[in-house]
Amino acid sequence: MIGTGILKGMAVTARNFVGSYFEKDRLITVQYPEERAPLPENYRNFPFLIYDGHDPHAGLRCVACKICEKECPPQCIYIVKSDDKKPDYMGKPQFYAKVFDIDISVCMSCQICVEVCPFEAIKMDKEFELSQRERFNHLLLRKNDLAKSNQYYHKIHPVEAASVDKALADAAAAAEAKKKAAAEAAAKVAATKAAAPRATETKPAPDAPPPSQALS
């Protein structure tokens, strides 16, 4: 009979309407400003720079290698390398970024800067309420706006931050072990070197001049 299809459809609508009062599955709208859905761990928005410790300037991991600036597809990163060096988080003297700007009105949140960074210095933020009244100045984030602590990173990406910290600690431990091994090896070499002339000294060639004379 003509019209039954429409009535069936109406029944579906009625079921959804009534169901929306009882079934959570049928009413999934989140009333945004009042209630907020939790952001997933992998959520990403715009990049920020990580610093260790408490000083945003001294602890910044970035060494101004400019890889992210080169790889950024929309080219929203601008870096000026420093002339002098400062010790990084592992105590090694490194260059640092004198200027580090990200224009988030250009950034397209692709995460390529994070992937190419060899120093785990740039990560993705979860902050999304970023509307500003000024179009040009306020959406250009300077180094001071971008620098955020490692604790903040742990807060927004707990799993990822833990793995990054572990990798960094492992790398530091490996570097330390290597340094130690190198130092030991150097000490050994020095010891053998030190031992070697002693050995020659104990058995001096009868016709060889004394060392002091040979030097002079």
């Binding site: 003509i2 019209g3 039954t4 299809g5 429409i6 069936k8 459809g9 029944a11 579906v12 609508t13 079921r15 959804n16 599955d25 049928r26 999934i28 997933p40 761990e41 992998n42 959520y43 990403r44 890889i67 790889e71 950024c72 597809p73 397209m108 949140s109 692709c110 995460q111 390529i112 992937e115 190419v116 993705m124």
Partner: protein
């Protein structure tokens, strides 16, 4: 310059004077680019005889943003986030098509788990694309809101999955050459499985809502008929081609990814009209659910990234490659020519929406203006992909 534009305009438009209109001559109407039913900034110059369409000229380019030229000027990896913006409903399949062609170009192997993940994500994309298409199509027919909101409710669940995996709802930027960016947790797979298992319930309800509806049948059956011969000759692909009864699905023809491992059927239409195209989407969603269930059963833990694949300073050897996949809208291909430098020498997209749109006039002639919107809706276009 202005003289040139004038002559072009004159070529496009038949001379229309007030006298000729009164004589019952064709009336030219410009539909779009801000028409709500044109799915973006798309314009049609329609010549009308009363209410009947006698001539239709699609005009596009309003959303052109130099996608291919940008691709030639950025690194291979740098183009990956731009492919998200092609067909912004299906960024996962766009990523896959691009990754596939670069992997072909550079000869990169992909780990097994990644292939399964890619199939899962592509089929989830197909589900949400087809669901939202059905909603839009009904919206074009005048069922404002309700079916579209039901479809978007399901789509939102899948987009939440994408967000928790890739970090973004629509601009996923998830796949990489030789793998995927992050691994899916067991928890994620469990959630996805749950959503897929509930999906047929939505499909049943949606079909009950619309497919028996007399108005929908009246508006779609025998409207916008497309013959199989014309469809093949015009290079139409995807559900539009299969609605004409041509059995051509790249998942079966090429067998890319792990599709040969799954058992699924290809739904085929009979008449090639709008109703068949509508049904095609519904049936394809059911087959996608089957593929997804098999994929969830077969996926094994393992690495998701080929350790040999390079992220930084990626330079494929000189050569050319064409990678194509069955995107929800049809054959999506990327043609790349490499000269050994970090940027492709030529980067070309074969967009299904654009090529499916070329036969719009043949389908619309002889129908009313109101049918043009329905036919356009059934083509399933996204202007981001048409204009690139």
């Amino acid at each position: 310059m202005s003289a040139m534009i004038e002559t072009l305009e004159a070529m496009e438009r038949p001379p229309v004077t007030m006298a000729s209109r009164l004589d019952g001559e064709l009336l030219e109407v410009s539909m779009g680019p801000q028409h709500p039913s044109t799915h973006g900034v798309f314009r049609m110059n329609v010549a009308l005889d009363g209410e009947i369409v006698r001539k239709l000229k699609p005009v596009f380019g309003y959303l052109h943003r130099n996608h291919e030229k940008i691709g030639e000027n950025t690194s291979y990896l740098g183009s990956m986030p731009y492919t998200d913006r092609l067909d912004y409903f299906c960024s996962m399949t766009n990523n896959w098509a691009y990754a596939l062609s670069v992997e072909k170009l550079a000869g990169i192997e992909v780990p097994e788990r990644t292939e399964y993940l890619r199939v899962i994500l592509a089929e989830l994309t197909r589900l949400q694309n087809h669901a939202s298409l059905l909603g839009f199509l009904l919206s074009d027919m005048g069922a404002w809101g309700t079916p579209l909101m039901y479809a978007f409710r399901e789509r939102e669940k899948i987009l939440d999955l994408f967000e928790s995996l890739a970090g973004s709802r629509m601009m996923c930027d998830y796949m990489r050459f030789g793998g995927c960016r992050v691994d899916a947790s067991d928890e994620w797979l469990g959630q996805a499985k749950q959503i897929v298992e509930r999906f047929p319930k939505f499909l049943d309800e949606f079909e009950e809502l619309i497919l028996g509806n007399e108005i929908v049948i009246g508006r779609t059956q025998n409207v916008g008929k497309l013959s199989a011969e014309l469809a093949v000759n015009a290079g139409i692909t995807g559900p539009m081609l299969r609605a004409c009864g041509v059995n051509y699905d790249i998942r079966k023809v090429d067998g890319y990814g792990f599709y040969p491992r799954f058992k699924f059927r290809i739904p085929l239409g009979d008449h090639g009209d709008t109703y068949d195209r509508l049904m095609m989407r519904s049936l394809e969603m059911r087959e996608s659910v089957q593929i997804l269930k098999q994929a969830f059963a077969q996926i094994q833990p393992g690495p998701v990234m080929n350790p040999k694949a390079k992220i930084r300073a990626f330079r494929p050897p000189a050569g050319e490659a064409y990678g194509r996949i069955e995107a929800p809208k049809g054959e999506l291909g990327f043609y790349l020519i490499s000269d050994g430098s970090p940027n492709p020498y030529r980067y070309r997209v074969r967009p299904p929406s654009f090529i499916n749109l070329t036969i719009l006039e043949d389908m619309c002639l002889g129908h009313t203006v109101a049918d043009v919107m329905v036919i356009l809706g059934s083509v399933d276009i996204v202007m981001g992909e048409v204009d690139r």
